[in-house]
Point group: C2
Chain length 123, copies 2
């Protein structure tokens, strides 16, 4: 790892570089948290699960396996990742676990859903 200590361009704006470092400093926690959410939603299968939960309220792993034509364990493992960071939660009814979105403060996801709906094919 031979890292430059500083950008070597003659035109490099040292004030700008310092400002950028400070910007990242004050925003780093938010960036780390949000990048985790985006990474989860950045998988096609998981985005479909989240989108369907937004539309339908709640669904079980068996439903997703059916709808997405994937194995139940594959679905279950995607679900676990999203549950681990608190994006979704479950409610048990007998043998069935119903999952739903945790609606705390997810403006980011809400805007993703809106964007998807805006871009939908018109029949």
């Amino acid at each position: 790892m031979a890292l430059e200590l500083s950008c070597t361009r003659a035109e490099a704006d040292q004030k700008q570089l310092m400002r950028c470092r400070e910007t990242l400093g004050t925003n780093s926690e938010a960036i780390v948290e949000i990048s985790k959410v985006l990474a989860l939603a950045g998988n096609e299968t998981r985005l479909k699960i989240l989108f369907l939960l937004n539309e339908e309220g709640e669904l079980c792993p068996c439903d997703f396996a059916d709808i997405l034509e994937m194995s139940v364990p594959a679905i279950s493992q995607h679900i676990r990742k999203m549950k681990d960071v608190g994006l979704i939660s479950s409610r048990r009814e007998g043998q069935t676990l119903y999952y739903s979105l945790v609606r705390n403060h997810n403006e980011v996801l809400d805007n993703v859903f809106i964007k998807i709906q805006k871009n939908k094919k018109v029949a």
Copy 2:
């Protein structure tokens, strides 16, 4: 791949399952596209690059390498991925390539930036 043809729960709502399949059908293109953008933004380094471009207007790979304390090739490869899907574009000035956000229709990213700023540490 031994896939269930249909959810086996007795309580399974077949109408709901059909509706979900249709929902995914009409929205699948949007979901595929948006999941690509989210996957890109879902990497901490790339989200920092995007966030800094949003704040500063334009920066070069050398700047990012300096600010993020990463090698220039590592930065360059992140940049290429985002350029490939049209998230960012470049302008040459001599030897230096200045990158900036492509401001088409990225409500999703805009809302991510707003969310990050909202959650920043107060000094």
